[in-house]
């Protein structure tokens, strides 16, 4: 497969801030690739460099064999780039905007009219072609922007956050549109929302802090980064937990048993294994007469991997987002889940620091404590030790 886009050691700095740190990847013809990363990870910078808008500080990027800096015009001729802000002339009508774009691309009149009809049909804006761009809703404007990007039949389609700011219905529309496009173009889509990417792109490149943290298909990523699938067993095992643990560990295929603690009378275990061993674990529970509360087969989702990578690099992802993504995971279990990642990725991820304990403000309402004139509304002291109370 010939690489349509090839990026080598791409670095871009804004002053002292390193937005991209020697990023390299290749994208073949007809591939649909999702750029995934938290905000500020360097997605937009990468796409802007590919689109010929920003020059890289160092490194090279080639699109269809042309260098984005040296043969910028050739590159721009071959890409359809839609920035996140969807810049369109608000005072133009949709078809006028498309005509202007066609003129910029040097398309002749017959082809222009033919293509305008085709792309408007494609994005379902045919009835709105006479509307002013400024009067379109966000979703329609997004579609108009897509139509503009598609107009000159570009080899490569670069879409920066095409679903941001859209309502769920519009998202689904854009998503299905992208799925249609995938068959005709090489497409790069960026997003910070995983399901968007997962739904459209077979290949995902995860970027954090200006580096590529992971690159591959969904299955590859799961295999590469999230091979710790496990069977969770929660049951009443009686007083001898160690024995139960050893028993479970004896199941063929279980590489490790993690004691997840006790909840009331129920003991929770995670049986790390590569295949689904629920039946074996269930058989043991049945033979021992353990009252089962939970027996489930869990494989880490891409969402989890993404959250891990984002978190692992110290990215400020609120833990509530993690919990929301995986409601079954107890918050206390998260650090254990994170540990296997230490060996993964180009950078060594570090655990997110524990949030500092909230500062304690002591309001002492005893008016005799520090003189009667004291302002009771103000805290007496911050983190002050409590005065000894009378026995």
């Amino acid at each position: 497969m010939r690489a349509v886009i090839s990026v080598q050691q791409l670095t871009r700095t804004y002053g002292a801030h390193v937005a991209l740190d020697s990023v390299s990847f290749e994208i073949g013809k007809g591939e649909v690739v999702g750029f995934l990363g938290p905000n500020g990870a360097g997605k937009t910078t990468t796409l802007r460099i590919l689109a010929g808008y920003l020059p890289p500080t160092s490194g090279t990027a080639r699109v269809a064999g042309f260098d984005v800096v040296r043969d910028s015009i050739e590159v721009r001729q071959r890409i359809g780039y839609l920035p996140e802000s969807v810049p369109l002339y608000r005072e133009l009508r949709v078809e006028e905007m498309l005509r202007f774009h066609a003129r910029l691309h040097g398309m002749d009149r017959a082809r222009t009219e033919r293509r305008i009809g085709a792309v408007l049909e494609q994005v379902q804006l045919t009835e709105r072609r006479r509307d002013l761009v400024g009067n379109l809703s966000r979703g329609l404007r997004q579609r108009a922007g897509l139509a503009t990007a598609l107009l000159p039949e570009p080899e490569v389609l670069i879409l920066d956050e095409p679903t941001s700011g859209l309502d769920p219905i519009q998202r689904i529309e854009v998503r299905s549109l992208l799925q249609q496009l995938a068959s005709h173009h090489t497409v790069i889509v960026s997003s910070h929302i995983l399901p968007e990417i997962e739904a459209v792109c077979p290949r995902v490149i995860i970027v954090t802090k200006g580096r590529i943290a992971a690159d591959g298909t969904r299955e590859q990523l799961l295999k590469q980064l999230g091979d710790r699938s496990y069977v969770r067993l929660e049951a009443v095992v009686g007083p001898d937990v160690a024995k139960a643990k050893a028993l479970l560990g004896s199941i063929a295929g279980v590489s490790e048993v993690l004691d997840k603690g006790r909840l009331g009378i129920h003991q929770c275990f995670d049986l790390v294994c590569s295949t689904d061993l629920r039946e074996d674990a269930g058989a043991i529970a049945a033979a021992r007469g353990w009252a089962l509360r939970e027996l489930s087969w869990r494989t880490p989702s891409l969402e989890q991997i993404f959250a891990r990578i984002a978190l692992g690099d110290g990215e400020a992802l609120p833990s509530s987002a993690l919990d929301g993504a995986q409601p079954a995971q107890a918050a206390s279990a998260a650090p254990v889940e994170l540990s296997p990642l230490v060996t993964l990725g180009p950078t060594t991820p570090t655990m997110p620091a524990k949030p500092p304990a909230p500062t304690k403000i002591v309001y002492n309402l005893n008016p005799f404590d520090a003189g009667a004139g004291r302002d009771l509304g103000k805290p007496k002291a911050v983190d002050a030790p409590k005065p000894p109370t009378n026995p």
């Binding site: 804004y14 802007r48 689109a51 010929g52 808008y53 920003l54 020059p55 015009i73 050739e74 721009r76 001729q77 890409i79 780039y81 920035p83 802000s85 969807v86 810049p87 369109l88 002339y89 608000r90 005072e91 133009l92 202007f100 774009h101 003129r103 910029l104 691309h105 040097g106």
Partner: protein, 245 residues
């Protein structure tokens, strides 16, 4: 010069789609019409002198020339940059030079239209029975267009420096007023070489001494073209520098 024509057409369309252009045109035509009557009276019927007033001998001409171009060019780059449209234009297969030139030519075309009021007056005078010196009229018009071209270039340059249209307009209006009153400032000094230096860059005099009297001298045209090109070059570079910021 890929895309120049497309950008020129769009910018011209952009100018005329807003209310600003029409307001400016109405003001310019009404003002020039009224002033032409005044000029005719002051010149006691000397049509050529009156037209010379209209095309550069009067303060009104220089006021219009200094104030209008910044109003046209102030939004051309700064606003587009703020709306993200610059990202669109600079990722389209057009060169930065084409972008700047297209915008510049659109603004200058509008200014040519503003100065056409003088041509109209000459035509009216001819209908009334007095044939004006057409060479001087066309020369004056061409000079006026060149002067506005220079001011459009400085305006565009200012617009490329900032993201706030008002700042761009203010900056270039101040610059234009300075350029216009430069000869007056020069007259204040005793120093001979400062005067000589000012005479070299005196826009007002370069217009009056040649075009206004109907002499299209290549040296004088070159003066305007070179300065215009310089400011356009700076504007292009500044546009390019935005990529690096």
């Amino acid at each position: 010069m890929r895309g120049f024509l497309a950008i020129y057409r769009r910018e011209l369309g952009g100018i005329f789609m807003g209310p600003l252009a029409w307001t400016l045109l109405v003001i310019a035509y009404a003002l020039q019409g009224l002033l032409f009557l005044v000029y005719l009276k002051t010149s006691q019927g000397d049509v050529d002198l009156a037209l010379r007033f209209a095309f550069g001998e009067s303060w009104a001409f220089w006021a219009l020339a200094a104030l209008f171009p910044p109003l046209l060019t102030m939004r051309m780059i700064s606003e587009e940059s703020r709306m993200g449209l610059l990202e669109y234009l600079l990722t389209a297969p057009v060169t930065d030079v084409a972008v700047v030139l297209g915008k510049f030519c659109a603004a200058t075309t509008f200014m040519a239209l503003v100065w056409s009021a003088g041509l109209l007056h000459a035509l009216l005078v001819m209908r009334a029975g007095v044939t004006p010196d057409w060479g001087a009229v066309w020369g004056g018009w061409l000079g006026a267009v060149l002067v506005s071209g220079l001011f459009c270039a400085t305006g565009l340059c200012a617009s490329s420096f900032t993201n706030t249209p008002v700042v761009a307009a203010f900056g270039s209006i101040v610059a234009h007023l300075l350029i216009v009153i430069l000869p007056l400032l020069g007259a204040l000094t005793e120093s001979e070489w400062i005067r000589a230096a000012i005479a070299r860059v005196d826009v007002v005099d370069h217009h009056k001494a040649s075009f206004l009297v109907g002499v299209v001298d290549s040296a004088y045209a070159g003066f305007f073209l070179v300065w215009t090109a310089l400011f356009l070059f700076v504007a292009t570079r500044s546009l390019e520098a935005r990529r690096w910021r």
